[in-house]
Amino acid sequence: MQKHTFTITMFAGMAVLAVLAQLGVINQYLQSVIMLMGVNIILCSSLNLVNGYMGEFSCGHGGFMCVGAYASSLVTVLCFSKNHILGAPLLPDSLALLAFPLALAAGAAVAAVAGLVVAVPSFKTRGDYLAIITLAANYIVISAIDNLEIIGGPRGFMGMNATVNAMNDLVQIPWMLLWVLGGTLFSVWILRRFVSSTLGKGVPAIAQDEIAAEIMSVDTNRMKLIAFMLSSGLAGLAGGLFAHILGYVNPHSFDIMKSTEVMVMVYLGGMGSLSGATLSAVLFTVLLEVLRPLEIWKWVVIPLLLILLMQFRPEGIMGNKELSDLFPKLKKYYSFK
């Protein structure tokens, strides 16, 4: 029974949220915060795979998010909205529901391929040198989009709302909320499956000792390739969702500031803990919203809080433990593998 409780709770929770949103109990603003929370959870847990489980130091996650956001936006705009450069919609609106997940998947796939730029050098180098490669990759992505006039350059790219509206025309429910919740669940689920699989055990092995891992028959290059591509692919998924929530993307929304934000969330939650990553993403998003009235002081208070937190818990909120390790009684009620 406890094998399924987690899944059931999650789906029930999703359904409840959707119903509440549909009835107007949760207003637009809270919905938007919940959606950005979902995006942050995906970003944070996917970066956690590389920075936490694998012990690398990747600080260009925003770049992959950017690639995913633009790729999936291009697909949906090409298919469902009229664009002065890309021309008339290719598909009828009724297919939007079917095509949207495919567009998200396409964005994730393109971002995963972009992840190769970082994955291949990681065979030879690691640590701070790899950090620079990821940082440079982030700069390159943004600069490249700035120079691509066909997708708006620094003016940004829009038209994604047409797809969301097309879905709403079919059935009037909060579609984006559902997609984000679905995407979040999918990401956390696949990461959990991956790190607890026999294959995925190789990832923390690399973090512990790369050579020992190699001796124990872990194909380290293959592991790194998989981990980096999975991580950047999920970042691309988050980017696609982000683009469709806002209906507008601008390359400078994904600059180094975004990357450091995600990085901070990862270390705040604890390296190598999925529940930590989820918790810290939720906490961080809420903090950003709750402290809005402080205006300028907000960005003094938040770093100060985080510094204090690290002084008292130098391993992040959860360390490398999961929720069920801290509250062993919970194991009775659910198992999540």
Binding site: T125, Y129, I140, S143, A144, V264, Y267, W299, P314
Partner: protein, 307 residues
């Protein structure tokens, strides 16, 4: 002629990257800590220089100004700024990094703390001083020399000379003095050093003093060359200098200076040859290429992995 002008420009901007990269590399070389707050310490240095200078000059409506001449002001501002900026660096080390180090936290948590400290410096400055930018007073009579179409200001020459002198000084301290030997020792083995009777914390504080005072010096020179101060001025140049330090081979002083000048030459070279819109794209692709070919930077030594 245009070519020589570009070379001079690259030398000047490369000097700033090099001066800031030296600070990164010093701290990294000793502690294996990427001090992400370094770019913001540089910004604080520029602001300190600004306040010291207007206090002494009596400019900008400061009634209590001493009314000194610009030349004398410059002579006093440089050491005062360097001392005050190094105090900022040491404060960060004492209040934030050292407690974490004592607790044996993962190195990356210290890095994140540094990142947060940088944010506090930036936004604290914004909150306290307001959004108005500050205009740095002119402390040095500007002289423009022109040799057949190539223009050089005296400031540019000073900046380039300063970068080279600082490099020489640091190289001397690290390789020829006892305290330098201790610094190298710490980077080699942090646990054996106290056993040899070397005061670990003193050496680390000294490193921070050295690195931050260089950031202070860079701050003054930068404020004189580009006399507009704003709270976020250190962020971008800090990231880029960090990249320069790593490409040179982080932890090696020669690497920082070579990396700094290299980044200056690449950026200006791309603008000179290609359309300037492609600058970041090409410059970072070149750096990426260098790291693909030499995975530990130009001077970096591959860390031997234990078996």
């Amino acid at each position: 002629m245009e070519f020589f002008q570009h070379v001079l420009n690259a030398l000047q901007f490369g000097s700033f990257y090099a001066l800031i990269a030296l600070g990164y590399t010093l701290v990294y070389g000793v502690l294996r800590l990427i001090n992400f707050a370094h770019g913001d310490i540089f910004m604080v240095g520029a602001y300190i220089a600004y306040f010291v200078a207007i206090m002494l000059l009596g400019a900008d409506g400061v009634a209590a100004g001493a009314g000194l001449s610009p030349g004398l002001t410059l002579a006093i501002t440089v050491p005062v700024t360097m001392i005050l900026t190094s105090l900022v660096g040491v404060t960060l080390e004492r209040t934030m990094y050292r407690p974490l180090r004592r607790k044996g936290a993962d190195r990356l948590y210290v890095v994140i703390t540094a990142l947060m400290a940088g944010l506090i410096l930036e936004n604290g400055n914004l909150a306290l001083l307001g959004a108005s930018r500050k205009s740095f007073p002119e402390l040095l009579q500007k002289v423009v020399w022109t040799f057949g179409g190539v223009s050089v200001t005296n400031l540019k020459v000073i900046v380039i000379v300063a970068a080279v002198v600082v490099f020489g000084l640091l190289q001397f301290i690290v390789t020829r003095t006892k305290i330098g030997m201790a610094m190298r020792g710490i980077s080699y083995d942090k646990f054996a050093i106290p056993l040899m009777g070397i005061p670990l914390d003193t050496i680390i504080v000294f490193t921070f003093i050295l690195g931050s005072s260089m950031a202070g010096l860079a701050g003054i020179l930068f404020a004189m060359s580009y006399p507009i101060l704003e709270p976020y001025m250190g962020a971008l140049i800090g990231w880029k200098a960090f990249i320069a330090a790593v490409v040179g081979g982080i932890g090696d002083i020669r690497g920082a200076i070579v990396g700094g000048f290299l980044l200056g030459f690449i950026e200006i070279g791309v603008v000179a040859v290609f359309p300037s819109t492609l600058r970041d794209l090409f410059a970072f692709s070149v750096l990426l290429g260098i790291l693909w070919l030499k995975p530990t930077g130009l001077f970096g030594v591959a860390k031997t992995t234990k078996i």
